[in-house]
Symmetry: C2
DNA sequence: TGATATTGTCTTACGCTGTAAAGAATTGGT
DNA sequence: ACCAATTCTTTACAGCGTAAGACAATATCA
């Protein structure tokens, strides 16, 4: 996963695009051909490609082709690919709900929010490749932050603990969502099911590390009583396991918040 | 971050390399020139490049150059780049300690382990780009899993909860380490300090969203009383903040484990 | 000793990437 | 009719992983 730093290029220009403030409010009627595309159509096409085939399939040529243009035509609308990714990133976050019911308490609300965020990330796994370190600062990203902080504010905790908890939730949810998304796509990408994958490797493992059970007794014991029990769900084994880790991990973190709160 | 799936190519060949079992124990004295490199020298050179300049600078040509060879010379030792990354991945994990003192209880031990893992990831941030979904299954990766499970086994919990907790810890620690590493490298890569970065954007923000405080009242309020207080530490503001999030989030998760344990 | 088979390494080549530079085509204002 | 502005295309460059083929070095066998 290559960390993609937000906003390579002129920050002002990027922000104007993110918040859709045309740089020059006049001058939108001069000579020259009318633009055949808009920022939104370009961003939308790029999002479709990233959703369908992943971030590594997102090329300027591919986006251009989807819009019946060449790659270079896009540079009329967008300064470079890095900014395009920022715009995609902020655009999809509009999918996240903002109005969670606080009537049933912070725990129910944050649980719902976390589930929605995890679903969001698994719908758009490429979003996880955008660095969180220096945020994009678009309107929809800000709305997501505002939403989680508003829910956590119900805990009665101070601002700094709330920011730490929000960061912790993001770390956990992003990691869980990434694993869920990767287990899901692993079959599509490699064409090998979890069962096949494990079957082949466990055979080679015995050949290559005959002393495995002695060297790693606990994971051997834990593996034997958990791995590849027949499961009823329609999910692959690993995906079901990843989903369980999310559910249980989330509950554990909420318990931890409760402890912090009542201390 | 592009998810890199482990073991593209023949799984058996990859496992033999990971566990350093030469495919053919005989036949190591035939005609032809003697090999000038070894798997280890190649993997080591690749790790150095990834550590120094990041995963996106890791190219076969770059590794070859560091060893005074061409890119193609490496294919004598390694089937392809994907397998090279698997070998790098498992190799560096040997840095993780395995013998944590359980005398002071699981909480102290897991706290130490988590800190070590976070440090490990920030030393080798490229490791975070290797997918966790289908593990590499090398000896050192297995040792890391065995270690964390051995510590968590001290909680007295059942295997499945322990696996969920271990997964939760990995998700959280990876996310925290990634943010720490990215805040650290953001300055090097972009040449812009956190303060400059924020100064520019907050100015443009006022221009582009004059109603920001009304639209996002809580993050406005929370921001005002926390952001960019002068800090004494040698860390950048964001890095110190990311480190705080790790420390507090870890404590919170450990509290959550305690709750699960005593329920 | 000379031939042969085997192996390490290099060169070349292909299709992909982001985007700089330059030119063609289209349009509105004068 | 001309000009200036704007959209869009073409071409080009250096980088990527790696397939194919050539070449050089070496140990074994006749």
């Amino acid at each position: 996963m290559v960390a993609i730093y937000a906003s390579q290029g002129d920050p002002r220009e990027t922000m104007l695009l993110l918040w859709r403030k045309p740089a020059d409010p006049e001058a939108r009627s001069g000579p020259g051909p009318k633009p055949g595309l808009t920022i939104d159509t370009v961003v939308e096409a790029a999002i479709e490609i990233a959703d369908e085939k992943g971030m590594e399939a997102l090329s300027m040529r591919a986006v251009g082709e989807r819009l019946d243009r060449t790659a270079m035509a896009l540079y009329t609308y967008i300064p470079n690919k890095s900014v395009l990714i920022d715009l995609m990133f902020d655009q999809v976050q509009a999918e996240m709900p903002t109005g969670y019911d606080l009537g049933r308490g912070w725990r129910a609300a944050i649980g719902e929010w976390a589930g929605d965020l995890c679903d969001f990330y698994t719908r758009h796994p490429w979003v996880l490749q955008v660095s969180e370190a220096r945020p994009v600062l678009g309107p929809n990203e800000n709305a997501v932050y505002e939403t989680v902080v508003r829910i956590l504010n119900e805990t009665g905790l101070e601002p700094r603990p709330i920011l730490h908890i929000s960061g912790t939730l993001f770390h956990f949810i992003r990691g869980a969502a990434q694993t869920i998304a990767e287990t899901r796509s692993a079959l599509e990408v490699t064409g090998v099911s979890d069962e096949e994958w494990w079957h082949v490797r466990s055979a080679v493992m015995h050949e290559v590390a005959p002393d495995f059970a002695e060297r790693f007794p606990l994971i051997t014991a834990f593996g034997e009583q958990g791995v590849f029990e027949p499961i009823e769900s329609s999910l692959s084994y690993f995906e079901a396991e990843a989903q369980d880790t999310f559910d249980n991990g989330l509950a554990l973190i909420l318990d931890g918040i409760e402890v912090t709160r009542t201390r």
